[in-house]
């Protein structure tokens, strides 16, 4: 059987030759510019970024995911007193694939980090993280403990930190409003 020399010019310059062939074929079979289509695409490009931004801002779906005490306030967030539904925040989903926002509510132990990472990676992009409460921001009252990491920002990129032990549900409302502003470009990182 004949051996193929992969270091020959034929193989090294393959890309250049391919480009040459494509160029020639484009010259002979040039696509005429479609005026209407071109204008439409420009129009959609101009408007869609705004539309996408607006829809992203107004359909933040948080994940139904709680670790500890702050998760109780997270549930209170959905209760009739706060009524988060009026701003469209209250579509807590059970699966990470349908979510945009992960609210880390509670202390993060070493044994739970791999699970949180996996959930985060299962979320579709763009995805946001809110560190809710002292424990998720800096370790909180457990900062001395041997089994705690001092803040979820050591593992995941965090968008909004919420202080308090536990923060009131109103604070979570405020945090989501802040996240909306960040998506709209009003607040910079």
């Amino acid at each position: 059987m004949e051996e193929i020399d992969y270091n020959s010019d034929k193989f090294i310059n393959a890309k250049a030759e391919m480009d040459k062939l494509v160029e020639e074929s484009l010259k002979t079979r040039a696509v005429r510019p479609n005026v209407l289509f071109g204008k439409l695409s420009e129009l959609t490009k101009a408007t869609s970024s705004k539309v996408i931004e607006w829809s992203r801002q107004n359909s933040l779906w948080p994940m139904q995911f709680g670790l500890a005490c702050c998760a109780i306030e997270l549930m209170d967030f959905g209760s009739p007193r706060i009524d988060a539904e009026r701003k469209g925040y209250l579509l807590f989903r059970g699966t990470p694939r349908q979510c945009d926002v992960m609210i880390v509510a509670g202390w993060v132990t070493k044994s739970v980090i791999p699970e949180i990472k996996r959930l985060y990676e299962q979320m579709a992009k763009p995805r946001y993280v809110i560190a809710y409460g002292e424990c998720a921001t800096c370790g909180g009252p457990w900062w001395e403990s041997y089994n705690i990491i001092r803040g979820i920002d050591q593992v995941l990129p965090v968008d909004v930190f919420v202080a308090g032990c536990p923060p009131r549900p109103e604070n979570l409302f405020g945090a989501l409003m802040k996240l909306q502003k960040k998506l709209g470009g009003e607040i910079e990182d």
């Binding site: 995911f65 209170d76 009739p80 739970v112 699970e115 009252p141």
Partner: protein
Amino acid sequence: MHLMRVVIDVPVRINVGPIHPSTHGVLRLVVDVEGDKIENMEAHIGFLHRGVEKLLENRMYMQACPHMEKLDYFAPMSYDELYVAAVEQAYGIELKEKAMYVRTILLELQRIASHLASIGFLCNDIGQLFTAFMWSFKDRDMVLKLLEAATGTRMFYVNMRIGGLVRDLPPGFEDSAIELLDYLSKRIPAYEKYLEKNPVFMERNKGIGVISRDEAKNLGITGPVLRGSGVSYDIRKNKPYYVYEKLNFRIQVRNEGDNFARYKVRMLELRESIRIVREALKKMPPEGSAVGMPIRLIGPPVKNKITITERELPRGECMIYLVADPQRPYRAYIRSANFINLSAIEEMCKGQRFADIFSIIGGLDMVMADVDK
């Protein structure tokens, strides 16, 4: 019509959790099912472990209160009180009568809030009954509002001091408390009417997760779960503390031992708690202060080196075994009711169907932070 059937005769192993198996925290269950029937089950815990008992050894007595509260975050004040009572016993400090009454009132209000939340979670775990969850959280919020007026914070109060409380009850507390209790005593029949006439609720709770009287005793279960199995045992009656001796209430017992019995016991206990608060508000001495010692305990020497303090918390009997050093505990062992109640889950789930796991967890009403410590 012909229905296609897939028969799997090999037992299948299903992993439940660890993140959020229901609304009770981070718990992993490995379940072997045959068809829909649970053959075997194994519970994995420890995902929320942060070493509370070790941390307590490095804290002065009053510094540890916030840590104790975070054990059971549905009833933080009860745990706070348990720890402070243990320290009081170690130092041999007696409470004033007013302080005893105020503590009793606040603890029973906390029990009402906790039981309301647990009923809401049971309905949420079953699914479909989100209405009851909304109702119970609305009512719980009203109780929390009253507690906020009395203590200053919404969830973690840190309201206990050695020898009393941080502050007296605010003026007008009694009137607003009685108003709330009137409202709640009207609400409880509404819950019962809604839930007990609901076929979904009844189907998924009656005869589910049965644990017999003897088994419950052997496993060391306490609280509403034990009382749902027909054992009349309540620390408030059996080893009364504070002013529970002077107050008129009953231990609520159901004999069925299933999930519905546990729910019913909680409902009946809500009524009893309302009764207790009403009576305590009437009998409370109008004069005097409930305020305890300043935050640091420097003066008195430790009287009892080793003490055991037991309290009836909303989720069962909790105990602290305290070996006291001056200023800080040498060792504080916490018997958490949730951890011991959780040991029954394998017994309860065997032979049940897969979907019943969640109603059983809801009926047990665990707090995983308390289990893992």
